[in-house]
């Protein structure tokens, strides 16, 4: 076990995989000379050279697509998008090529690649730079969608992602890069499609992923002070979705709250909640509550922005609502 930041956990996964497997190449904007906007790739250019750490022009569609081509020929590219917002420019490549190539080629090619970068709101980055796109990508079969919350998950899931034979949407979070945590040293990897119980509790199940896991844990602490024991489930992965772990929990707590940062309509919480209803309807003593961001483009002003994203207090309130204590 070593204590690493989320950033260094990611970086060490890259290094270990690159050391072992020459097929792994990195590609993205300013990941080399500039050391990466969030320094996840710091010093890797020096370590692996420009043939493996490929700085690109500003052309998301072009370099994401090129990475798909590399993957089709047997490389294992890890693409950095400076933020996921910019991936919308490459959406066609991601969903029409990466996600579908194995299928429409009748299994003749596959696309072992990872696209990674920060997802979600930062601090006052305004409407174009604050989107959380997990629901958008998780809709498309052929993709894996992963959203680690802790440094250990960052490392363990990134290793699995790099070893995956199919494209992985790897959603990091800018607010988490500096967060520290224990990371196992050995050949450590975490499976896709397996959620974790981040905190045990008997009264209500709170489901979250990425940064919202920590909001949920804080809320759980506050609730505990009032005698309410929340179980917090960290999804880790949205496609495939580990409904079993949630359902098992709900079958004990009989109440559930699903938290997401993004806009409520057609967001990820709807799918997660539906899976609860589909598999545990009879177990529920109250409707599943959704805690989400405001249904507006992200405003710049900090005073508005704080109102646009969900907070501990919103989770606490939702939990109480499921318990009839509102």
């Amino acid at each position: 076990m070593a204590e690493l930041t989320y950033r260094d956990a990611l970086r060490s996964a890259l290094i270990e995989e690159m050391d072992h497997d020459r097929r792994v190449v990195l590609i993205g904007e300013d990941i080399g000379v500039y050391q990466g906007t969030f320094r996840v790739t710091a010093d890797l250019l020096k370590r692996y050279g420009p043939g493996r750490v490929i700085d690109t022009p500003i052309s998301e569609l072009g370099f994401v697509g090129a990475a798909i081509g590399m993957a089709m020929l047997g490389l294992r590219p890890v693409v950095e998008v400076m933020t996921w917002n910019f991936s919308l420019l490459a959406m066609d490549q991601i969903v029409n090529n990466a996600a579908k190539l194995r299928y429409f080629s009748g299994g003749q090619v596959n696309v072992p690649m990872v696209i990674r970068g920060p997802n979600g709101a930062g601090v006052q980055l305004s409407a174009q730079h604050s989107q959380s796109l997990e629901a958008t990508y998780a809709h498309f079969p052929g993709l894996y969608v992963v959203a680690p919350a802790t440094p250990a998950e960052a490392k363990g899931l990134l290793r699995t992602a790099i070893r995956s034979d199919d494209p992985v949407i790897f959603l990091e979070n800018a607010a988490l890069y500096g967060m520290k945590g224990e990371v196992p040293d050995s050949d450590f990897a975490l499976p896709f499609g397996k959620a974790a119980v981040a905190r045990s509790g008997r009264d209500v199940t709170v489901v979250a992923y990425s940064r919202m896991v920590f909001a949920a844990l804080t809320a759980a602490e506050q609730l505990a002070a009032e005698g309410i024991e929340a179980e917090v489930i960290n999804m880790r992965c949205l496609r495939p979705l580990d409904a079993a772990t949630i359902v098992e929990s709900v079958s004990r707590t009989h109440r559930a709250v699903v938290v997401q940062e993004q806009w409520k309509p057609f967001g990820a919480a709807a799918e997660i909640a539906m899976r609860i209803y589909e598999d545990a309807f009879d177990q529920l003593d109250a409707p599943v509550e959704r805690v989400t961001g405001a249904d507006v483009p992200m405003p710049y002003a900090r005073t508005l922005e704080v109102r646009a994203v969900p907070h501990e207090a919103d989770i606490v309130a939702a939990v109480k609502k499921t318990l009839g204590k509102d």
Binding site: G62, G65, A67, I68, G69, M70, L75, Q93, Y144, G193
Partner: protein, 357 residues
């Protein structure tokens, strides 16, 4: 645009090699044409669904280039892809079966006309989003050099695709990478004068499409795409250079699509019958036939045999496609992901791809 505005290199004697290749590819071109005619008929008979885009009129382009590359070279193209597959060695039956949506099809019936794949022969598809394959081909070329091979990549694209960002962004990458010898790709613009109903003059502010590559430091040229022998000479020169340097290169080949854009394009309000007739007077198959005859290398007898062979092959392909079974129902859920559930659960197994770890 008049395809003859680009000067055809003057005919000269064919070398022995060229002669052999020309005879072989004459047969292939006749086969491809016959295949396309039949595919259109099968479409009208309801045996083929979806979109169907035939290559008739443009054969010399793909034939010229595919005759000039090595067996381990690779290529990508758009949806007008039947001839490319056949030229490269796919069994016509497997191609027809794909169009029929049968389990024996090139892509198990899952891709259809627009998504032919024959990776064993270096054919990496078959794409339906205009321009969407250009980034892939560019990255694939990079991978070939990264793997320290001498293999090269061809990327066929249409005149219409040249207006898409999906063309420009990778072209710039190819320029940058090619300078470092890291991108052995030839972009082959099949300028058949139209993107569906839109002629080049109305879709590209500058109609010299080859010139667009200059702005990415990719050397380029423009040539007639109707004469197999000339295209092949050009291809051999270009391919050799790209293989040697690892740099990118581009050619714009002026050609013409004899049929409608797709099988649904019946009225063709965007061009005249006269224009089509004039273009057909420069049929690439006739041009090659004439050159071979002029060289004394092709007799009436042989021509007849080539056509009969094509006829037989296509009839056989249809029979094969007809008689093949549809994909098994469980195929619906296969090929979405490669990993089986157990692998996903452990997450640690290396489910290796083509390389070795």
């Amino acid at each position: 645009m008049d395809t003859r505005s680009v000067k055809t290199a003057s005919p000269r004697d064919l070398s022995r090699d060229e002669l052999a290749a020309s005879l072989e590819w004459y047969g292939k071109m006749v086969l491809a044409r016959r295949f396309e005619d039949e595919a259109e008929r099968e479409f009208r008979r309801g045996k083929i669904g979806g979109y169907l885009h035939v290559y008739s009129g443009q054969e010399a382009v793909a034939a010229g280039f595919l005759s000039a590359i090595r067996p381990d070279d690779i290529f990508f193209t758009a949806y007008r892809d039947h001839a490319h597959a056949i030229f490269r060695g796919a069994a016509p039956g497997a191609v027809m079966a794909e169009l029929f949506g049968k389990a024996t099809g090139l892509a198990k019936g899952k891709g259809g006309s627009m998504h032919l794949f024959d990776v064993a022969h270096g054919f990496y598809g078959g794409y339906g989003i205009v321009g969407g394959h250009i980034p892939l081909a560019t990255g694939a070329a990079y991978a070939l050099r990264y793997q320290k091979t001498e293999r090269i990549c061809l990327c066929f694209l249409g005149d219409g695709a040249m207006n898409s960002g999906s063309f420009h962004e990778p072209a710039n990458l190819a320029g940058l990478w090619g300078k470092q010898g890291l991108c052995p790709i030839v972009y082959i613009v099949e300028n058949n004068q139209y993107a569906m109903g839109t002629p080049v003059e109305r879709s590209s502010a500058v109609t010299n499409l080859a010139g667009r590559f200059s702005t990415y430091a990719i050397d380029n040229e423009r040539a007639d795409g109707m004469d197999f022998i000339e295209v092949r000479r050009l291809a051999e020169r270009v391919v050799r250079r790209v293989r040697e340097t690892g740099g990118s290169y581009a050619v714009e080949l002026l050609t013409y699509r004899f049929a409608g854009h797709g099988a649904a394009d019946l009225f063709q309000p965007y061009r005249t019958k006269e224009e089509i007739a004039q273009a057909r007077s420069r049929d690439p198959i006739t041009i090659l036939e004439d050159r071979l005859r002029a060289a004394g290398a092709l007799t009436d007898e042989q021509v007849k045999r080539v056509h009969a062979d094509a006829e037989r092959a296509v009839t056989e392909a249809v029979r094969f496609a007809e008689e093949s079974p549809p994909p098994a129902p469980e195929e619906l859920y296969k090929d979405v992901y490669g990993a089986r559930d157990e692998d996903e659960k452990t997450g640690t197994r290396d489910r290796g791809n083509t390389g070795t770890r």
